[in-house]
């Protein structure tokens, strides 16, 4: 590509970097603004709802023909994974990895289970996870920081871990 053409049509990589910087700056400004909102206000509700809708739209636009696996194949692989963990083959072939998967399941189940238990009791001695987070988000700086983290996670969930090659019908869904 000659220099004149490059000036007129910047390479995709440069556009991606510019877009990422703009999105990061926009997210930071939004997070600072969100820190000043209160949970019961219409501004808080509309801004969170708008971010969710935007994330869904971006996920659909960025994910067109770029999923790594069909949902049916993903479910089938999950089933095979469960059978592998439950049976002797997985433990024999990759004991450390299977033990890691089992530990993840136990850790997540413990956190979710204890949170549900605390929620069900509604007791002062048994705070839920969101109550603990609420002690941070009641301050503007805490609300901004947690919101920024939430935006970052949402961005990765919406656009991250896509298949890099776009034009292929194999393994994609409509």
């Amino acid at each position: 590509m000659d220099p004149m053409s490059e000036r007129l049509h910047p390479p995709a990589r440069r556009r991606n970097i510019t877009g990422a910087v703009a999105a990061t700056l926009g997210g930071a400004v939004l997070a600072v603004w969100e820190g000043a909102q209160r949970r019961q206000t219409a501004a808080a509700h509309w801004s969170v709802a708008a971010v969710v809708v935007l994330a869904v739209m971006v996920a659909v636009a960025a994910g067109h023909r770029r999923q790594r696996q069909r949902s049916a194949a993903w479910l089938a692989a999950a089933g095979r994974g469960v059978r592998s963990v439950a049976g002797p083959e997985g433990w024999r072939d990759r004991p450390a990895y299977v033990a890691g998967v089992v530990t993840w399941v136990l850790v997540i189940a413990a956190v979710v289970g204890w949170d549900l238990n605390s929620f069900a009791h509604q007791a002062h001695d048994l705070p839920t996870l969101s109550y603990i987070v609420g002690k941070v988000t009641r301050h503007w700086w805490g609300r901004s920081a947690v919101f920024a983290g939430w935006l970052g996670v949402g961005t990765y969930v919406a656009v991250g871990w896509r298949r890099p090659v776009m034009p292929s019908a194999d393994g994609d869904e409509p």
Partner: protein, 66 residues
């Protein structure tokens, strides 16, 4: 310290220790938190589930909790 605070402290320690263990072991030996998230993002169904959980958490934290 309440019972709930003690349990949450223990759980936070377990999660932190497990995260450190998976990071130090490397992704080929032990699945890390990124591997867990990426597993959900492999298909549309998993991604939709992850997006729904993320959206629900955001609504609860920023619109319902103080």
């Amino acid at each position: 310290m309440t019972v709930g605070a003690v349990v949450w402290t223990i759980l936070a320690g377990v999660v932190a220790a497990w995260l450190l263990t998976t990071v130090s072991a490397g992704p080929r030996r032990l699945p890390g938190i990124v591997d867990v998230v990426r597993w959900f993002l492999r298909s549309w169904l998993g991604r939709v589930l992850a997006l729904a959980a993320w959206a629900g958490a955001g609504w609860h934290l920023f619109c319902q909790r103080p």
